[in-house]
């Protein structure tokens, strides 16, 4: 089912280089139309809750996909994930963990907190490209969602 409205990704990533890397990959492969990035968990929650400057719906639209790193300053990725998945307002949001950690405990905990997917940042460019392309296609194009009132 094709989506008609613009597709929007919110990236939560504290490493500016990685953010740039992802931004470029998304852009090159035209995965999404709008791409926003915040640097820590606190900002991510403020963004989703439309607090402060994020109240501006045009500049900061509510995302279709949340790409979330785990190790973040202030509020870490797990806390963001927990808040999102325990809030009736946000729990439908697709949250894909994108991190450099392969630690089993991290994986377990992420799924216990209802992460939709867990991906590890690859070293190879080609792999990175593939991952982002398929993430975009899978979650934003192919996957069929139930209609929600929110």
């Amino acid at each position: 089912m094709e989506r008609q409205k613009p597709i929007h990704v919110l990236l939560v990533e504290d490493n500016p280089d990685h953010a740039e890397l992802l931004r470029r990959l998304f852009r090159s492969y035209l995965v999404s139309n709008v791409f926003c990035q915040v640097e820590d968990g606190e900002q991510a929650l403020a963004y989703l809750n439309r607090e402060g400057k994020y109240a501006d719906d045009d500049r900061y639209p509510y995302p279709d996909l949340l790409l979330l790193d785990l190790r973040l300053p202030k509020v870490d990725g797990f806390q963001v994930l927990e808040q999102v998945k325990s809030s009736p307002k946000h729990r439908h949001l697709v949250v894909v963990i994108l991190t450099s950690s392969r630690n089993e405990q991290d994986v377990q905990r992420a799924y216990q907190l209802y992460a939709n997917s867990y991906l590890v940042k690859p070293y190879r460019m080609e792999e990175f490209t593939d991952i982002l392309r398929y993430v975009g296609l899978y979650w934003l194009k192919w996957n069929v969602y139930a209609k929600t009132s929110s």
């Binding site: 990685h18 640097e39 820590d40 994986v107």
Partner: protein, 987 residues
Amino acid sequence: MAEHEPQPPEPSLRQQALERLANAPQTLRDLSRTEILQLAHELQVHQIELELQNEELKSTLAELERARSLFFSLFNRSPIGYVLLDEQGIIREVNQTFCEMVTYRMDEVVGKPLQNFLHEDDRSAFLARYRATFRQPQNKVFELRLNGAEQQVLWVRVQGERLLLPAERAGKDDRDHLLLAFSDITAQKIAEENRRLDERRLQSLIEIAQYPYSSVEELLRFTLEKALLVTQSEIGYLLDYNEETQQLRTRFVSEGAQKLSELDPAAYPQTYSLEESGLRAEAIRQRKAVIINDYRQPHPNKRGYPEGHVEIRRFLSVPVFEDGCIVAVISVANKPHDYTETDAQQLTLMMDTAWKMVVRQKLIEALQRSEERYRNLVENAQDFIYRFSFVPQAHYEYVSPSVTTVTGYTPEELYQNAALGLELVHPEDVPYLQEMLAEGVKEDKKLLLRWRRKDGRVIWVEQQYTPLFDSQGNLTAFEAIARDITDRKEIELALQNLLQEYETLFNGVQDAVFLIEVGEEGEFRYLRTNLSHQKKTGFPLETVQGKTPLALLGEELGAIIRGNYQRCVDSGHPITYEETLDLPGGIRTWSTTLVPIWREGRIQYIVGAATDITEAKAARESVRQSEERYRTLFENMNEGFALHEMIWDEAGRPVDYRFLEVNPAFERLSGLRADQVIGRTARQLLPDLEQSWIERYAEIARTGKALVFEEYAAPLKKWYDVRAFSPKAGFFAAVFSDVTQRKQWEKEREQLIQDLQSKNNELSQFTYTVSHDLKGPLITILGFLGFVEQNLEQGNLEQAKADLQRIRFAAEKMQALLEGLLELSRIGRLINPPSQFSFGEVVTEAVQLLLGNIYDQGRTVEFEIAPDLPNVYGDRARLLQVMQNLLDNALKYLGEQPQPLIEIGWREAADEYQFYVRDNGIGIEPAHQERVFGLFEKLDPRAQGYGVGLALVKRIIEVHHGRIWVESEGEGKGATFWFTLPKAPKA
């Protein structure tokens, strides 16, 4: 990275760049020559930059390798054995320590199932639990045995942790692993085991000595039971042995072995000869304890055991001696490990103790029987026997109890009143008696008189008088047998009875009784001996009868015996002496009494009665020896011992207790001398003693229930292991040992384990952080290298330049992280010798080092330093580093504060100094305060630095046994970093 092209990227890039240039001439055609030259120059510069970046990358990788080998050697040198197992329990990786534990080379261990290295008995239990442990290793600790060097068993405590390791090659799945940590606890196990065993041995001896047995059988069963317990044996049995007949008889077997004897009585005879007995009789043949720890090995005297017999693996057999003869054999078998000499000694001691008690019991029983018989005989006698003496004055010397039957008077009444002798006589018969006395009694005479009994009844009494004279021929006494002949028939019957009774008495008494005729020429001839004499001397009556001592016993012994008889005759009185004689009946010790019998004015006979005191003497000796043995034990045991008597008030409430006996160990352990303690009460010695203690001991003294506990004596600063029991009602004894050292070790061990665990946690947290944070720059480097390639393909050189810049920064960051990491890892190990120094000087030095930076930034910062900072003890260089980092941190987060102020101060606590560095900068929200000390943690991703400084500070403070924390009311409220240093240096 392994997937990269094998050749170095630099020439390939160059190649590609050249190709690109060659294939795109149309773009260049539009450029001016100057522009082309410029572009070429630009390209050359990039080329060189790229080469430099690559160099940096290589050295970074080398650093990574160094760090890896550092962790590898930490892993191998740890005192804990580590084993990495896959789901099937196959060893995938192992450290050197574990290999040393099982004494195999690392390549012999890796790839093998772990159970191969476990003790046989633990394998199945381990396998049964492995799945569950693998799935959920948290909180599972178990103790196992490893097969160590030279067949030694190594006790280990095992704890597991689940690890998810990256696959060995990319593309393969990640593998789940279990990391098991093995700590060697063998020494502790052995010490515990030995202590338990010693206690059990002592307890068993005491129990046997105090066992309230009602029969010999019961006592011996109890002893066998204890022997099994003390030697940790499964089965055992007791054999009786007769050295003369060389026959063995199974007295009984322990419960475990009992069933077997019922299997086939023919195959398991109850009685058998020494000759046909196998190992069970080996202790008899060798006349000492026999230990066989390898029963399966052939042995010249092994006969095997019948079908269905329990399998014997190890065997200990001890002979029991009585008077130098083996009388029994006790054997135990199947201890879980080897029997030792200690087991043999212990078993000997226990059996000796028990057997001494058996002998004593037998003796007591025999004595009781003989006494009873004798008493019955005398008391039932119908005649009244007495001896009336005239020296120094007239009195009854002996009156048999039957006087009461005949006269109604008690012997006591006669003893007290000699005049009763005449008063008894019927008044009408007094003249007759007086007449006879006037004539003078010269010889034995029968006398018939009427007596008046106490109750007034008159009886006819026939008396047989025997006058006794001194050497001058004066009458000194007479003996008489008085018989009530009122009823003739009765008298006849009584006479018959009397004869029979004398005969019974003569032969029934345990004493060896003999009658000797003294000839006119002074020679002695044996006339009669009783049964006991014949049995005990080994001389039948016919051998003895009519013989002189010399003829019977030979010149030497005969002369000695004759001398004794002569002494009796010479003195004219009964004599008693002890003698030890070697006769056909064996060597025996006798207590012999010789009584001269006067006939016709001379000693015609001697009656001898010899009591066999061989056993009694031996028993006395054995009791003395056993007492001595216990005394030695008591004096030399390591445990303190004290015996107390409970003191109760009128209402029966326990109020105090008194020390009755203490041993030297008590003095040593308590520091109190015996003479200060014995006879005094607990309240006198310990006025602060709590009533609860008295009640606890009273409970023991009342119920006899033993109590075991550990107690800390604060004044002595010692821990005692105490076992209190009651040897008899109203008393209690306490055996205690100083376990301060053990307690200390336990505490140290706990601390060590805790330290190791926290080190372990720290290490895994550290590894996790390191791998995560080092990956970041690598992802950046490799990702942007991809972009650079694309940029070059597209000829977008500006972008390529910018991206290369990112790569450079990422590589620099990686370098900085690695340096920080190395710095951090050094702190735990390389520490300068600690010293006492002024902390104020250190603070001043740190501030001065920072002033330059502050000036460069064009800022003004005010410092307020407490003037009275104390001297501290530690590594000065490291603590300078702490202050530098804390100040650096404060400066970094001053924010937009228009009047920046940094305060350094302190306060004093019980045993530590607490220092602080306070700023009025941006502050930290309470939720994040703990994270600031984490490695590579940064609250603000754009702030300078790499999150190493505060982690370093925390590490240094912890190495100094201090704590560190931060206080801040929140953003914009400034922050105070607190840390502590102990006043006294810690070990």
